[in-house]
């Protein structure tokens, strides 16, 4: 047993869980000590979620045992887990938007407490842990960070001994992250243990005492994140050496490829974001990174750029063309390429095979030249080229897109666009949900076409990704875009200030 653990709070032994033929959890054993912040690290699909769902009573293990507070522990439901002292904050919030923060906390309680009494204890909690929330405001009006605080209060009000946090920072600005970390450290110092799930290695080094690394459903080992570099941990997580893509070399004599001016574009639905004051330019061999927390206009901006949505108040100049009134196909014909965020149902279609999926963005109608008849032999060749070059793991070009894993489908989608050798490539969340190695490959491919002269707009919520390969960065906040700055000149605390414009 790890010498750092004075006494064990939670322990699981030889947990196994299978889904069909997939071993999601393979003989997993971990120990969590009192007051410990314990990281659970692993790529998507490594088995992290399955394990915490078992601990929180959402799933039952096929075999294995758990002890909690020196007692046998096998919760049948989340309610059972909460009653025994395990709390959880999910990545996707489970709050009612039309209700106030306080009403949401009230609704989350398993046993009734008087409203007045609850109000007092909520205030006490939020004061002592720095969880500031206006209790009477409606959830719909709160930022992601504030909503998360409501979720944390809701979990803490039941006084858990073990708090599970599932990728809590994926929706937060850097500033909000810092205040979350303060809260978590204070909680730990007062005796609550935290099981912290993430694949962001830097924050784990900051926050956690111990890290258990999962790979393909099994524990690889337990490490001290403070004594290791993020890269070392990353390589353990992936199981092979990682390389870091370099941002493209910006040369001086470059043509302007795209300029976009948006005064104001109203959303189609009431839940959309109004785009306003957007002014951006991209040059040859340049990657413009557009960061920001999800739901600040990324989707809306992407639709304007692809041409899926046209608006008169928008000016888009691409080389010498005015393209704002062109549809996506017409834009592709003059050298643009797009990869939207949503892989299934937008960029690709699950019920169609890969050949047909290649046709969706058929460049310059290469395979439909002959009076609209499809040239299957060339299409086949093109599709196989993508599969080979981008190392897409599939049974072949006639496999359904839905049979590919998320990462492989993403490689296919990005590959399909890159193979068209675009002069301008606009991509939204290229590595979302993709394993670390594939992500590095995708970034490398993007950098390569930039080095060969293409202009790139990279929209991403992954700040590290943007800082890693962009030449310039700008941030979307509430539908407006900050002035693009050279990546080399920007400081992390400035980013926080720009992105945090919403709440802090």
């Amino acid at each position: 047993m790890n010498s750092k653990i004075k006494n064990t709070l939670f322990q699981c032994r030889a947990i196994n869980k299978e889904f069909g033929n997939v071993k999601a959890n393979d003989d997993i054993s971990i120990n969590i000590g009192n007051s410990q912040i314990h990281a659970l690290l692993g790529e998507n699909g490594a088995g992290k979620s399955t394990l915490v769902k078992i601990i929180y009573g959402l799933l039952q293990p096929d075999s294995g045992s758990m002890t909690f507070l020196d007692k046998e522990f096998l919760p049948k439901s989340p309610k059972d887990a909460r009653a025994q002292g395990v709390g959880m904050v999910f990545q996707h919030f489970s709050l009612f938007e039309p209700l106030t923060a306080f009403e949401n906390i009230l609704l989350g309680l398993d046993k009734g407490i008087g409203e007045k009494e609850l109000h007092e204890s909520v205030i006490r909690l939020s004061e002592s842990y720095g969880l500031e929330v206006n209790l009477s405001s409606f959830i719909g009006d709160l930022s992601a960070g504030e909503r998360q605080r409501v979720e944390i209060i809701r979990a803490l009000i039941q006084k858990p001994k073990l708090l599970i946090m599932d990728e809590p920072t994926s929706v937060l600005t850097p500033f909000e992250c810092e205040s979350l970390f303060k809260t978590l450290k204070k909680l730990a110092s007062e005796g609550t243990s935290i099981l912290y799930i993430s694949h962001k290695l830097k924050e784990i080094a900051d926050l956690c005492d111990t890290a258990s690394v999962l790979r393909k459903g099994a524990i690889v080992g337990e490490y001290d994140p403070k004594k290791m570099t993020a890269r070392e941990l990353g390589e353990i997580m992936v199981g092979q050496p990682l390389f870091e893509p370099k941002r493209p070399v910006a040369t001086n004599k470059r043509k302007k490829v795209l300029s976009v001016k948006i005064n104001e574009v109203k959303p189609d639905t009431q839940f959309g974001v109004t785009l306003k004051n957007i002014d951006l330019e991209v040059y040859q061999s340049e990657i413009l990174g557009i960061g920001g927390v999800a739901g600040n206009g990324q989707e809306e901006l992407m639709q304007i750029l692809t041409g899926e949505k046209k608006a008169r108040s928008v000016i888009i100049k691409y080389l010498d063309y005015n393209v704002e009134m062109l549809n996506p196909r017409e834009r592709r014909e003059i050298g643009l390429a797009f990869a939207p965020e949503e892989r299934l149902g937008h960029a690709a279609v699950g019920n169609l095979n890969l050949l047909e999926n290649s046709l969706i963005t058929d460049p310059k109608r290469r395979f439909q030249k002959n009076m609209g008849f499809i040239n299957f032999s060339e299409l086949n060749e093109f599709t196989n080229e993508i599969i080979e070059k981008f190392n897409v793991k599939t049974t072949g070009a006639s496999a359904l897109a839905s049979s590919l894993s998320g990462g492989n489908l993403q490689k296919f989608v990005v590959g399909r666009e890159i193979e068209q050798k675009p002069s301008l490539f606009i991509v939204n969340q290229p590595t979302w949900g993709v394993d670390a190695l594939s992500a590095a490959n995708i970034r490398q491919a993007i950098v390569e076409i930039a080095n060969n002269g293409a202009a790139i707009i990279l929209i991403s919520q992954d700040l590290d990704e943007i800082l890693e390969i962009s030449n310039k960065v700008a941030f979307l906040t509430n539908g407006s875009l900050s002035t693009p700055t050279n990546t080399a000149e920007i400081k992390t605390d400035e980013i926080g200030a720009i992105m945090g414009g919403i709440s802090d």
């Binding site: 196909r329 937008h346 279609v349 169609l352 963005t361 109608r365 839905s402």
Partner: protein, 359 residues
């Protein structure tokens, strides 16, 4: 408790077995129905499925009849299948079929007794136009105001039936018909007659066109980018927009295409086997074609076979009517069961059933 789990890959064998099993089940349950109607179920089933093809007494008449009855079913089902693939639900082919007949017949009869080579082809085009115009009403409402095309197209069937009655009793009534409802007989008007291609069989141009259309639609759906666009729209409107297609244009195209084919079937029928516009001109081909489209798995080749099977139940059904005195409605129930069982079996084609263990 049972639990349904979606199959990851639907096997082609299962997907072919679905229609075959549903035909088998229809025979079985239909047989029980016939038994309670006081008819020997084995004789009835044999008379519906076997005698029209194999019996020496009936087959010389009924084999060509199968193709004649199958032609409108196949034509209409082909058109509908394209829309169904795009998630566009034209349920009103019956109305478009009637309007095609009225349009074409009105054109030809307005020129009566002029004899000229251009009358027949123009009449056919007018028939196609009539069907497509009738389907443009739900198409425009769908595209402009997002009105549900199922309701509009279905309700327009009843409007078309009223217009058919109006034509038969009013503006198209045969002036030499002694006051009986119904128009002049087009098959007796040689410039407008959709006459026999093979003497003594009744096989007409519509039958030939239905076969050609099977090939045409096969190429359209599987070899041409338009077919791909339709499939893409049906699977994901968002991906269709991302691809650069205009979903509204495709929806409009699918509806008018299916209307055109229904109109073509209508004019072929009125100028051929039916002969005249009359109150009882439509016999439900437009609705039965929906069954044919699904029984054929929205695949042109499948639709051809499904159309033939369905035509067999019509021809065989007629046989049982006058040989065994089975009511006509019993045959309609029989046809309805076919779709019912097909949809039921599709559940097993697309889902696995798992027994949930005890907790």
């Amino acid at each position: 408790m049972f639990k349904l789990i979606p199959r990851e890959n639907v096997s082609p064998v299962l997907s072919l077995l679905g229609p075959l099993f549903s035909i088998g089940f229809t025979m079985f349950v239909g047989g029980i129905l016939f038994y309670f109607l006081g008819v020997d179920p084995f004789a009835a089933i044999k008379m519906i499925f076997w005698d029209p093809l194999m019996s020496e007494t009936f087959s010389t008449y009924s084999i060509p009849q199968i193709f004649i009855k199958g032609a409108p079913l196949i034509l209409i089902a082909l058109g509908l299948s394209v829309g169904f693939k795009a998630n566009v639900w034209n349920i009103g082919a019956e109305g478009q079929y009637i309007m095609g007949a009225i349009f074409g017949a009105s054109f030809a009869l307005s020129l009566y007794p002029l004899e000229s080579f251009f009358i027949f082809p123009t009449m056919v085009l007018m028939g196609i136009l009539g069907g497509s115009l009738w389907s443009m009403i739900p198409a425009l409402l769908k595209v402009k105001f997002n009105v549900n095309e199922i309701l509009v197209s279905l309700m327009l069937v009843y409007v078309a039936e009223q217009l058919l009655a109006l034509a038969s009793l009013g503006f198209l009534r045969n002036p030499d018909g002694a006051g009986f409802p119904g128009s002049r007989n087009l098959s007796l008007y040689s410039s407008a007659s959709n006459s026999e291609l093979i003497m003594g069989t009744g096989i007409h141009l519509g039958v030939l066109l239905s076969l050609l259309m099977v090939v045409f639609f096969y190429v359209l759906l599987f070899r041409h980018s338009l077919g791909f666009k339709i499939k893409l729209l049906g699977n994901s409107p968002k991906a269709s927009g991302f691809s650069g297609d205009n979903p509204n244009k495709l929806i409009f195209l699918c509806l008018t295409l299916s209307g055109s084919l229904a109109g073509l079937a209508g004019i072929m029928e009125v100028a051929g086997p039916a002969g005249q516009i009359n109150i009882d001109f439509n016999v439900g081909y437009g609705f039965t074609a929906i069954i044919v489209a699904f029984l054929g798995r929205l695949n042109p080749i499948g639709i051809f076979f499904a159309g033939i099977v369905m035509a067999l139940t019509y021809v065989g059904g007629e046989l049982t009517q006058f040989m065994l005195n089975l009511p006509a409605a019993a045959i309609q129930v029989f046809q309805g069961m076919l779709l019912f069982f097909l949809l039921s079996f599709d559940l097993f084609v697309h889902y696995k059933i798992k027994l949930k263990g005890k907790k």
